[in-house]
Symmetry: C2
Subunit: 323 residues, 2 copies
């Protein structure tokens, strides 16, 4: 039982914890909603600490020696501090130090997409492959990169920000401050914002969508659009088609630049609107350079929402020498 590691995925909406075996199997897991009313770093880290400790004590029998944590944002790989996490608005939080002190275990902190990519590579859709771009479309859009059989994390541990690829020069303002970023068009947040703008401009033809959202334009989300799309709503179909084309632009750009062997697509938006996968697959075949896609495989995520805990645990086992 010594080869089990805990994986924690700190998302904007959920905190997930899992006990993960050496082979990537999940032995035990919980998912708790991240309490949005928790203001400030202290209350939020306390929430993470308490849930982690509870989870560990409920799973004592697995003899866990190390914890891997995936969190959106830039991580200092040497110190395990969260330099900046946009979801939680954390700046310079020494998360590794805090969690090691509180749990007495070795802790490894990594970017959420790095964890996800490691999980998909070792135990999911990318098994046995050496050159992968793993793209997850959720509220935002991120990716992780495997190059020549290694995780590639860049010069300052910040590689993979495919959501901030410019797809419309001078286009929509992105949360990052730049204009025309992929995630401003095809991320869940961007999809919802565009839908709300269109509904406000033409609430008559968006009646079905507004009703699906519960009657208020402000409550339209990417999930609303996914539901409306499934009922055959024309405005939803148009927006999802556009989303697919923008997403394809970003994927094609990365394929032409990096000539990967494998593209993995996952995340809540792809999961909720599976047709997006087919749109991207078709567009890449049609519009990417022939030389760049001669051998490419475009695959759906195999681990989906478990990829983060599985990958974080796997990386912790590796980096903390508990493998």
């Amino acid at each position: 039982m010594k080869k089990n590691t805990a994986g924690i995925d700190i998302g904007g909406t959920n905190l997930r914890c899992g006990v993960i075996g050496k082979d990537g199997t999940i032995k035990s897991r919980i998912s708790v909603s991240f309490d949005k009313s928790l203001n400030g770093v202290e209350k939020q880290t306390d929430f993470v600490i308490q849930n982690t400790k509870q989870f560990l004590s409920a799973n004592e029998k697995y003899d866990i020696k190390a914890i891997g944590v995936g969190i959106a944002g830039q991580i200092d790989d040497k110190t395990g501090s969260v330099l900046f996490s946009p979801n939680l608005n954390w700046h310079d939080v020494p998360l590794k130090k805090i969690l090691e002190k509180e749990t007495g275990l070795d802790v490894y902190i990594t970017n959420d997409l790095t964890a996800i990519t490691y999980g998909e590579w070792k135990f999911g859709a990318g098994k046995g492959e050496d050159n992968i771009i793993c793209i997850f479309v959720g509220t935002g859009i991120g990716s992780g990169i495997i190059i020549n059989g290694s995780l590639y994390t860049g010069c300052s541990n910040a590689a993979g920000e495919i959501g901030h690829t410019t797809v419309v020069s001078g286009g929509r303002r992105c949360t990052c401050g730049n204009f025309g970023c992929l995630e401003a068009y095809a991320g869940g947040f961007g999809i919802a914002k565009i839908a709300r703008e269109r509904a406000a401009a033409d609430n008559k033809s968006f009646e079905n969508i507004i009703n699906t959202a519960g009657g208020s334009i402000e409550d339209i989300t990417a999930e609303t659009m996914s539901l409306a799309y499934k009922t055959g709503d024309k405005n939803a179909a148009l927006l999802i088609k556009e989303t697919g084309l923008y997403l394809s632009d970003g994927v094609i750009s990365s394929v032409n630049l990096l000539n990967p062997c494998v593209i993995i697509l996952g995340g809540g938006v792809i999961g909720g609107i599976p047709d997006l996968f087919d749109i991207v697959k078709g567009e890449v075949a049609e519009r990417a350079l022939k030389a760049s896609v001669s051998n490419i495989k475009i695959l759906r995520s195999a681990l989906e929402e478990d990829a983060g805990i599985i990958g974080a645990a796997g990386l912790a086992a590796l980096r903390c020498n508990h493998s």
Copy 2:
């Protein structure tokens, strides 16, 4: 004298040959215009063979044992065949086999940007760096990538096609068949095309530019725009500013995705319009993700038009074991 290698750069307009020392110095060189009237693969390869042989016999004293060739297009790294070269419209030309038979020397064939990047990395602006994107803006736009201290050439030896990053979704048709590619806006060919369209639509205000081109709109090139820009022409200034912004979009996308330590910018268009470098540098600092550029260096090419022959020779020395 045994450590010299020949480097050959087969461009769309020039054929360059050099004798290159182990330390990257050029001992001897020629540059001949590629005769545009040569139709068909046979006449064109014959032109390459004859010039190469002449160059070798004029430089017998350097005791050359291997030849490196850089050429735009996709190369089969195993056979040294040119699978496709868009400039010359070559398909499946066994260039390594042809040149080895004709010269009796070992020959290594590589993509032009791979050669340039290797040259800049080993002997130019990127010396000592481990993570580089080397971007050359000429008629088209290409790049080479150094990752973790190795040349990264992708799954099918086609990585680096940054010119085919989508910067305007659904935008201008590119020579590759896709729409909105970076090089359709900021490559020399794209710049010239946009300038000609604008001149045709408003030949009065483009009078100075048309005159600079010799009186005919059809003769406007990127060089025309560079000359007009230097005389303070307002239309040229506007177009160059736009070119710089599109180029920045492409560079920012690659920086956010790959988080390189170094960006090298070179090529005829950057050489001809040096302000483009400063525009890109400023825009990257302002618009790229802070985490992605915290340590970045943005440098001008050090080897410029010699990068191709120096890099091709260096790669040949390495791959043919003559180093």
